[in-house]
Assembly symmetry: C2
C-alpha cells in the first residue's frame, strides 16, 4: 500500500522512521509488547507500578514487557510468562492469547498482545530485573475500580490499556 519507511533518526533504543512524509517511532528491538492479565487464587488482580521517565510520573499498568528485546524473550507466550514472573514474582502454568493491536497508531508502530495467565504460583517478590524498580499490587477484584480511581486522584497515572484489560477480565465473568 505504501513506500518502505526510511530512517530519519537512530537513537540508542529508538528509531524515527518516515513513511510518505509521516514520522513515527519504533524500537530497534522489541517492536511488539505483551500485557499479562493475572488473577491469583484468592481473586486478586496483579498490577505493577513504576516511575516512567517519558511521563515523569509513576504509572500503574498490567505486567508487561517487550518481545525480542533480550535473550530468551523471542516468543510472545514465553515472554509473557517470563515478564509476569520477573515483574510480579508469580509464575504461571499457561497463557492464553486474547487480542493484539496498536497502542498509538499515529505515533508508533508498536503493537501489544494481551494474554490471560492461569495457574499462578508465587515464587518470589517480583520487582523487575536490572534497574527496574517495580511495585507489585495485588488488588481484590471487586475493589479494582475504586483502587484505580483513588490512586489516580493521588497523582499516579493509570495506563489507558488497564481499562482494556479490565474489559477482558469482566468478559470472562459474564461468560461463566
Amino acid at each position: 500500500m505504501s513506500d518502505e519507511p526510511k530512517t530519519v533518526f537512530e537513537g540508542t533504543h529508538v528509531l524515527v522512521l518516515e513513511r510518505d512524509t509521516w514520522q513515527y517511532v519504533e524500537r530497534k528491538k522489541g517492536k511488539t509488547a505483551v500485557i499479562i492479565l493475572a488473577v491469583t487464587d484468592d481473586d486478586r488482580v496483579l498490577f505493577v507500578e513504576q516511575y516512567r521517565r517519558p511521563l515523569d510520573a509513576r504509572v500503574i499498568e498490567f505486567p508487561a514487557g517487550l518481545v525480542g528485546d533480550e535473550e530468551g524473550h523471542d516468543d510472545p507466550e514465553e515472554t509473557a510468562k517470563l515478564e509476569l514472573e520477573e515483574e510480579t514474582g508469580y509464575a504461571c502454568r499457561t497463557v492464553e492469547r486474547l487480542t493484539s493491536g496498536p497502542t498509538s497508531a499515529g505515533i508508533t508502530s508498536e503493537t501489544v498482545t494481551f494474554f490471560r495467565a492461569s495457574g499462578l504460583e508465587e515464587r518470589g517478590k517480583g520487582g523487575g530485573i536490572g534497574n527496574e524498580d517495580i511495585t507489585v499490587h495485588r488488588v481484590p477484584r471487586g475493589d479494582v475500580v475504586d483502587w484505580l480511581e483513588r490512586k489516580n486522584s493521588e497523582g499516579i497515572m493509570i495506563d489507558a490499556k488497564v481499562w482494556a484489560g479490565l474489559w477482558f477480565l469482566d468478559r470472562e465473568r459474564r461468560n461463566t
Copy 2:
C-alpha cells in the same frame, strides 16, 4: 524526581527527548489526545477506520484527535466535540470526561482523555479534514465484539484502546 529532558532529535512533527538516558517521542504540538465514545439514538456505536502509516495497515479506532495541534483545538472538551463531528459527521450536545492516562508509557509522553458524547445529531458525512481518509462505521451495540473480531480476522487492526472504551460503555449499562 528527575532532570529536565533534552531534545536529541527534532523532526517535522515529533521530537525525540531523553531523560536520564531514556529516549522517547513527543509531538511538537498535540501532546495529549482525546478519544470520543459516542452512541447514536438507535444504539449504534461510532467507530472510525483509516490507513495508519506507522502500521502500514488499516486500523479501527474510536473517533479521536489531538489537543492543541490546530487552531480552535486548544481545550480537550472542545476538541472532542470538533473531532467527533469532523471524523463521523455527528455533532454532540455535551461531552463528559471519563479518565486520562498514558497510551504507551515506555516510549511516548502521550496521554489520552476518554470522553463520552451525548445528544448526537447527524450533520454531515464525516471522513475527516484535509488529507484524512476516514471510513465511519455505525455498529449496533450488541454486535460490536463480533464485528471487531471479524474485521480483525480480515487483517484490519483494532486499536488496543477500543477495548478500554468498551469497558466504559459497558460500565454505564451496568449502572443503569
